[in-house]
Assembly symmetry: C2
Amino acid sequence: MDKVTVFFFPDNLVAHVAPGTSLLRAASLAGVELKSTCGGDGTCGRCLVKVKDGRVRAESTGNISKKAKQAGLVLACKTLADGNIVVDIPRDSRLDQHQVLLDKKDILLEEEESLTAEYPLNPLCRKVKVSLPEPTLTENASDWTRLQVVLRNELNCQAIHISLPILRSLPETLRGKDWRVTVTVAELNGCADVVQVEAGHEESKFFGLAVDIGTTTIVVYLVDLDSGLSIGKKGTYNKQARFGDDVISRMIHASEKASGLDDLHKAVLETINQLIAELLSQYQVNSRDVQLAVVAGNTTMTHLFLRLNPKYLRLEPYIPLATAPPPIRAQELGLQINPSAYVVCLPSVASYVGGDIVAGTLVTKMAKAEEIVLFIDIGTNGEMVLGNQDWLVSSACSAGPAFEGGGITFGMRAMQGAIERVVIDRSSYDVTVSTVGGLKAVGICGSGLIDCLAQFREAGIIDRAGKMQTDIATPRMRQGDDSWEFVLVFSEATECGKDIVVTENDVKNLLRAKGAVYAGIRSMLKAVQLGEESIDKVLIAGGFGNYLNIRDAIIIGLLPDLPAEKYTFIGNSSVKGARLALLSQEAFHEAQELGKKITYLELSAGNDFMEEFMAALFLPHTDLTLFPSLGKQK
Amino acid sequence: MDKVTVFFFPDNLVAHVAPGTSLLRAASLAGVELKSTCGGDGTCGRCLVKVKDGRVRAESTGNISKKAKQAGLVLACKTLADGNIVVDIPRDSRLDQHQVLLDKKDILLEEEESLTAEYPLNPLCRKVKVSLPEPTLTENASDWTRLQVVLRNELNCQAIHISLPILRSLPETLRGKDWRVTVTVAELNGCADVVQVEAGHEESKFFGLAVDIGTTTIVVYLVDLDSGLSIGKKGTYNKQARFGDDVISRMIHASEKASGLDDLHKAVLETINQLIAELLSQYQVNSRDVQLAVVAGNTTMTHLFLRLNPKYLRLEPYIPLATAPPPIRAQELGLQINPSAYVVCLPSVASYVGGDIVAGTLVTKMAKAEEIVLFIDIGTNGEMVLGNQDWLVSSACSAGPAFEGGGITFGMRAMQGAIERVVIDRSSYDVTVSTVGGLKAVGICGSGLIDCLAQFREAGIIDRAGKMQTDIATPRMRQGDDSWEFVLVFSEATECGKDIVVTENDVKNLLRAKGAVYAGIRSMLKAVQLGEESIDKVLIAGGFGNYLNIRDAIIIGLLPDLPAEKYTFIGNSSVKGARLALLSQEAFHEAQELGKKITYLELSAGNDFMEEFMAALFLPHTDLTLFPSLGKQK
């Protein structure tokens, strides 16, 4: 059957697709990424588009709001193209419009720390300049034998590997500049491996990549391996987002749709290759000169990056395919750097404590600390590591997407126009908000939502169970479509032209998210038989962490009631750890050891977590003695 | 420009080619292999065809005989298709007609020796049956970690590698039969490598290949690695023949034509894959169950098999790209067996002493012998190894193609109809010949030519310098087109319908060939300061060897004048050595050591060889004291 054409306005982009293709898929093919938290299941109601012309068929209406329906919108994931059609994509439905903003608000591209004596500049991969004796009739060893003999003098290992393609190029390279060559060698697991052979001893460029694959965002650092300096950094949204917002929906897509695993693998590679291409072009670096990549990601992301099926991560007893996957060559994945470059993924601890957390643990140096450190990364999942030089335990809890804006009426990520601070007057209920970039409000991001919850509580807008006090005297409190809601910003002052509200349902979702994180911390402490007061230091990772108001987080019972000076934000510790492991073999080997050393505590294995979770669904907690600094509250 | 069609009769095969394509190339594309000793240079005059219809253009006439020209034949290599044409291929011009004969005359597919305690059945690759503990919430190591733990108990090495494709299939395989799996592991250079993982503990098939890549013929043994038995053997001509008969013309083609290296690499792979396909089909073996291949070939063949450019093998100081190439995976070459199967090439000693000779040396066990052994493989090159358990030297001399029928008017390989024995009556000059298969004579093969030379000398048909005694009284002695010639068989009794003759030029070519081999032996003996009499045993390898009349070979001065009981024919020692290394790690490692241990003597490096060669251009030699058993001759 002939293909049909789908035009997308206002982008003027076109997709040619088989009849029956969803508009969500067609948009993706045309290069327009739509919001799709549910991954095309018709449940999140975000991929709204307007069909302006042509014949479509609704697979189902899906979970579309009354308002959107009245405005003539449909869900792109449940609307199938039947003939040539013209589709209009509203601003609110787009994912990719925000990509530009990410660079302006550099939450993911932070300054790295300099290397120390502990982790000297000593990458897994290095360049060795050697001169080979010229062969004669009586000294006629082969090219490859000749090269091995001189390399062995320079390396720590006797076994030297070479791939067929590089071997094939040896004769001309060796003879190109009088038997003087510069050899890039990776020393890994006791074997040396030749990554590249160049003729001559001229200075040649030598770069590596540190890659953080987040569920939401991906960050790539281009690092000069000679100097150890990061010469460029780029971040963007993970293109996997169109298959679902969180790791669970991605796992489901990967394991239950025929092309699912390929879809997700290609999407993450495409994202990374795009960032690489931008970096190489901006800094005029030849892809051949990028000869090592260290990748940190959560266990699901690492699986999808390597095209390992994450199916069993999700099914009890939650078994990863590999926690320490073998190092591979760039060409095996199609990563657009030197085809022979090693690509190493930092090891995971378990299904829900991944290489990103191992990278973070490395950066915190907690495995060398005498004091007890709690390292916590709050996102869709709350992942945490507790311990010191003697012991390290980790666990993960599913906080849900609330802190990243998911499942919250006006939730959004920390992008321009997101409300990040909220102050509510105790008597007038007047609201003062500040937004990212100082722009008109578009929605509310994680730090703003935590502020809200704390302020609601302090102002008596909600009770300890999160129930709205509907009798308070302000027009901001009102009955909404589904539940009571409190208006933060009226439409006149918003960018979206709508009242920005927080509903009672939103509050419940936030309670569950904060309860899960706190219950995780408590369960872990219980497992090692320590109390909150034993924690000497709390390190908070993730872009979200940077903007967190610690006091508010304690007020709502998200974080333990400890003095503010014990808290430190450490930013994107995942990419920082990847960079450290890229630059220093010592750091890399330590990360490998951490992967084995950190004990994983499966919270679903005991009953403690569920008890702790139920107890944490109050503000701040059912047990107020855990929050002594908050005093008594009604 | 549109393609033209070339029809080949009587095969009814068709090639569609660009105008200007040579008929030689078109024939190859259509699947008809023509004789082409010179590789398409127009000099050997063998690729004769008749254009029956259509437009062709002669690039040049090339070196075509007057007779062929008169018969309306042209050289396929120098004749270009200009439009649709019809081509007739005479029987004599075909290479592939002989392929069937090879199997009938099993000179290359010999009985192998059984394994001994010295070389027990212990292939590089083995199957390990393991049961993994089922994971639980509290014992939740990853699939790959879980497999490694149990494998380490079974293996000799700690480092276990796995490729991404096999890793990807682990989860379903492990869970397929309750965590019981059969793992094929190769242990190589201190590392274990997972070749295959199968669900369950059922008996599974387990095969390997022993491959001998000869310049002329390729032999593949399909071996059951469980029992050590060869279950099938196939041999055929190396398809590289269309690019030239000997290693030198192949090297030139590989290094001087743009697609030359690819041509030769593809040709050898195609030949091997064809033999593999026939074996797998005949013995109903699944390609996935073939999990190891050991390959022996001369240095040029090994280079071309791996697509390593042999350019510098040919240029002084004759340096191979690699004498001990790294083991590779079948998929890297496109070898049609299990994609993850290891393919290991036996090491070479130098540019002209290859893995075939190392394989042979292994089979002779001379590296363990107390007595002094001379191992010699006579073909286009004469390759020899001399020594015992204390020392081993090797060298090679270019005998030229005469013993394989090249450069000899009626020369041919030892195929059906080839004259293999000649007796000439001393007074009447009557000739009695016997042919392979007892058929009417087609030409003369190596053993027949050696007989001829010896018989000519004994009957006084030639003098010690090889000059024909034109005054002898027989119509068999006559002036030919270019030189004097002696008729072995008159046309009435031949298959080809022509008088089969040996010319004075043929004799000169044979003298040069035998002189080179003998000079090589002498030079090597001189280098170790030993005389012929020190040799305790002479082992002669190669299909040619099997049919050699030792006495005649001594009479003409090809082989040293030693008692017949010191001589043994050992057949195709290359494929036998490959099979031994396939079945026994001990043998494989010994072959690797032999590659390093055997000293190579470059004959062109000193003056001895040239002196020896000049002295050996007589029958049997200028120095008759070297051949005491022959007595005085005129």
